[in-house]
Each structure stands twice: as C-alpha cells, then as structure tokens.
C-alpha cells in the first residue's frame, strides 16, 4: 500500500515535507553542537537540572496516551462515528512515542550508554518502567494501526489476534502517562511535584490535549485532503475536550487552594514564581499568564454549546487548549519542581537557542512522520471508498 500512497501525493505535499526536512536538519545541526560540547549549551543548571526536553517528553507522552480517547469509545462503547478516525489516533500515538524517545535521548548526558537501562535493569526506578511501557505502547499501536489499515486496504478482515491487542492498548495508554507522572510525584523534597494529584492531572490534561489535536488534524485533513472524519465525530471529540479541560482546570485550581489556604511555603513557591515571580525570578510570569488566559478562553468557548458547535470557534478553542497545556506540561511543570532549590533560593531557567532548535527539529520530525502516515491513510480510505483494492 505504500507505493500507491506516495504516487497520489501532490507537489504541495512534497514541498511541505521538504520544509519539514529542512527543520529536521536544523535540529540535527543543533544536536551535533550539543553532542560536541555537552549539555552546557542548554539553559539547564545544577539547580534546574531538567528543562524543556523533559517537559516536552512529558507533554508528548500525554499526546500518545490520548489516542485512547477515540479507541476506547469505539471498541468498548461501540461509538461507531469514531470508526473513521481510530487509526488517525493510533498513528498519532506512534508518532508521539517516537518523539518522546527522542526527547529522552537528547536529554541524556551520555546517549551512547542508553542501553545501560536494559543491561542493568533497575525495577526500583520509575524511569526503567517508563521505558518498558513506552516501548510496549509503541509496538501495540504500530501493530494495531497498521493491521486495521491494511485490512481496509485489502478488504480482508484483520487477523483475530489484532482485537485483543487493541483491548490491551487501552489500559496501557493510561499506564504510560501514569508512570510518567510517577517520575515526578514520587520524589521527596520537590513539593510542587509531590502530590498524588500529579498522575490524574496528567491524564486529564492529556485527554484534553490529544482530542483537541485530533479535531485540528481532522479539520486540516478535510481541508487539504478531502478526507472527512464526519461532523458527528468532531462533535463527540469536542465534548471530550470540554470535560477533560474542565477537569484539568479544576485540578489546577485545587492545587492553588491547597497551597495558599494551608500557607505552607514550599507548596506556594512554584505557584508564586509562575504568576508573580519569586525572589527576583520572573522569567515564567509572561507565559504563565498566557497559559491562564488561554485556559479561560478555551473553557468559555467549549462550555458554551453555540461556540463549541461552530467550527471556527471550535478551532480557536482547540488551539487554545493545545497551546495552554503545551505550556503547562511542556515546560512549566518540569521547571516548577525546581523552585525553590534545596537551599531555598531561586535559580532561573530559560531554554537556549540550541535547545529550542533541537526541540523544533523533533517537532518537525513528528510532523513529517504524521504527514506520511496520514497521506497513506487518506489514500487507503479513498481507494477503499472507491472500491479499488
């Protein structure tokens, strides 16, 4: 099916891929700088020892997990309208996992020793389990997504062993984001992370981010390829985004209550740092207010059935949701744990150009893979609908 997919793409699509390749190249160049000098070229420090890379990793684990929001209703609740886009979700998950692994790789000081995680397995380490569940999730989605699409292409029912794998992938999706949350919420002395709410909040925000992205992708697919996921599917997805976003904002506000009503200093520090600055450190104030504004905007547009039902407003709401949560989980949450440092001081962090270049490169790679997957998907759909096998 690959060869047909490639032949049916137009020049505009190839130009898009070329542009992405250029960005990937820039990312690769930035990474070669980092490999040469070490992580000293990033904005990280002994006090803020994780930054944009680990934040982005966390965010994309969420995107990967959120595929379950179309798979679960379709397979467990027989929501037929999602039938057309389960594969879109599965390929999104596969791409997101690849991006996650790359974000971890570029964050390592000694990438050549990556395999030590498997050579010296340490079941006590959450990172070890994260590696296990992420790899498992990757193969589950790649296999099921591919087989389901192939079945459609050939017109022959997918083999029987695909179904159980799809069912296994559902709880597995929850596991990847839970384990990722446990990286943060299980370590002493970082009071911003040390809350049982971290894992549920991660899941809630992931289930807002992913479906919001899927809506945007569906609308883009319809515009650029003519593939229509169906209005009903988009409507259902928008309801999922609404619920998940409301729950996310509720949980964030609950964090504020606990911190500021209890008045425990170490619980207030990170939140103060984000919104008003702390001990002279205020590099996150601007993006935190952007985050808050986008959350509010998204909620208003989503909760109002009129705007939610309107495609233009829904696009704005979904973009706001995605950007807001990309700020929150993609960088702020990670840095917040390091405010204050163990001596009660604030060390500022802001990514450097090299760091941003690498992240842009990985995003471009993600977009590149996704574009290829989706062009394949759209071709198969078109052919099967025209009745050509």
């Amino acid at each position: 099916m690959l060869e047909h997919a490639w032949n049916e793409t137009g020049p505009r699509f190839k130009a898009w891929l070329a542009a992405l390749l250029l960005l990937i190249g820039i990312g690769g160049f930035c990474y070669s700088i980092q490999l040469g000098t070490g992580l000293g070229v990033t904005g990280m420090s002994r006090d803020v020892s994780w930054g944009l890379y680990i934040g982005q990793f966390t965010f994309f684990v969420g995107v990967a997990a959120s595929a379950v929001m179309v798979v679960l209703p379709y397979y467990l609740h027989d929501v037929k309208v999602f039938g057309r886009i389960t594969v879109v979700g599965e390929f999104l998950a596969v791409t997101a996992v690849i991006m996650c692994i790359l974000f971890i790789l570029v964050d390592l000081g000694m990438p050549s020793r990556l395999l030590n995680i498997m050579l010296y397995p340490s079941p006590g380490s959450v990172l070890f389990w994260d590696m296990v569940v992420l790899n498992g999730y990757f193969f589950l989605n790649l296999l099921t997504g591919w087989k389901v699409l192939e079945a459609e292409y050939t017109g022959i029912k997918a083999p029987d062993w695909v179904k159980p794998l799809i069912y296994i992938a559902i709880p597995w999706a929850f596991s990847i984001h839970t384990v990722t949350a446990f990286i943060y919420s299980g370590i002493p002395g970082r009071d911003f992370w040390l809350t049982a709410l971290t894992a549920p909040k991660f899941l809630a925000s992931a289930f807002a981010t992913g479906p919001a992205l899927l809506i945007l992708i569906s609308l883009a697919l319809r515009r650029f390829t003519g593939f229509d996921a169906g209005q009903e599917a988009v409507r259902r997805l928008s309801i999922i985004v609404t619920y998940a976003m409301s729950i996310t904002v509720f949980m964030i506000l609950a964090e504020f209550f606990t911190a500021f009503y209890s008045q425990v200093p170490s619980h207030m520090y990170a939140l103060k740092y984000f919104f008003v600055g702390l001990y002279g450190g205020n590099s996150f104030v601007l993006i935190s207010w952007i985050f808050a504004t986008l959350c509010l905007l998204a909620l208003i547009l989503l909760l109002n059935p009129k705007t939610r039902g309107d495609e233009t407003w829904l696009t704005v709401a979904c973009a706001s949701t995605f950007i807001a949560l990309a700020i929150e989980k993609g960088i702020s949450f990670t840095v917040g744990g390091f405010i204050t440092n163990p001596f009660g001081r604030v060390t500022e962090y802001w990514p450097t150009a090299v760091e941003v270049g690498i992240v842009v490169g990985i995003w471009a790679l993600g977009a590149f893979l996704l574009s290829l997957f989706y062009s394949l998907f759209v071709t198969v759909k078109r052919r099967s609908e025209r009745g050509i096998a």
Partner: protein, 132 residues
C-alpha cells in the same frame, strides 16, 4: 514507484548499512605493516600480562578489556583494591601501574586498526606517556 524500485532501494540501503564500517575506513589509515616494537619483546609482554593478572600475552589480548571492566567493578562497586586472579595471585589494581607507558596502548590499538582507548580522558595519564 513500483515494487521493483522499492526492492532495489532496500537492497542499496542494506548494502550501504552492511559495508558502512569498511566504507568509513577506506583510505583512512593504511594498516601499519610493522607491529609496534613492544609486541615483539616477549619479556615486556609477559610483564604486562603479569601486571594485569592474566597468564600470557594471548590471554591479555583476548581479555584485557574484560579484566579492566572487572577491575572497575571491584574498585568502584565493592570498594576493594586487590584483584585475585583465577590461579590465586593477588594483583594491586592500578591503571597507572599497568599502563606505565600508555603510548603502547595507543600503538597496539592503532596497529589493530581500532579506536584508541579512552581511559585517559578521565584517568590521569601516567608520566612518560605520549598519549592522546
């Protein structure tokens, strides 16, 4: 693109991947025909084997990397400083002592056409070494 072209592309990729090490080394360093002088000095070589705690120079060649890794584990992970060989000899663990002439390590690695040991980027090179 038809299937044949895909197959051809795959074949080319396969060949490139498999011959990668050879291609990379093409014209790089013509293997030295003359082995390093120390390699022919039987006495010096046996001394070296003794310092590592292996029987002879053949075992040195085969196992020195592995023994060095064992040394690291004994020192770092067990906090011990003496290596007990299979035949019960006790060798003080010291990279400085073993490689009193680190240039020899480089020469031999060069001769074998493999990467120079990277020990001396961290462990301080013994005096007299021409290193790097």
């Amino acid at each position: 693109m038809n299937k044949n072209r895909l197959v051809a592309l795959g074949l080319i990729l396969f060949v490139l991947l498999f011959t990668f090490p050879v291609v990379m080394n093409l014209g790089k360093s013509v293997a030295k025909t003359q082995p390093p002088a120390m390699l022919q000095d039987q006495k010096a070589m046996q001394e070296l084997a003794d310092k590592l705690g292996v029987k002879n120079i053949d075992e040195f060649r085969e196992r020195h990397k592995q023994v060095l890794a064992e040394w690291k584990d004994i020192v770092v992970r067990d906090g011990k400083r003496v290596y007990v060989t299979k035949d019960g000899r006790e060798i003080p663990i010291s990279l400085q002592n073993l490689a009193s002439q680190p240039q020899y390590c480089n020469d031999c690695h060069d001769y074998a056409g493999i990467e120079k040991p990277n020990c001396w980027t961290c462990h301080v090179e013994p005096k007299g070494g021409a290193g790097k």
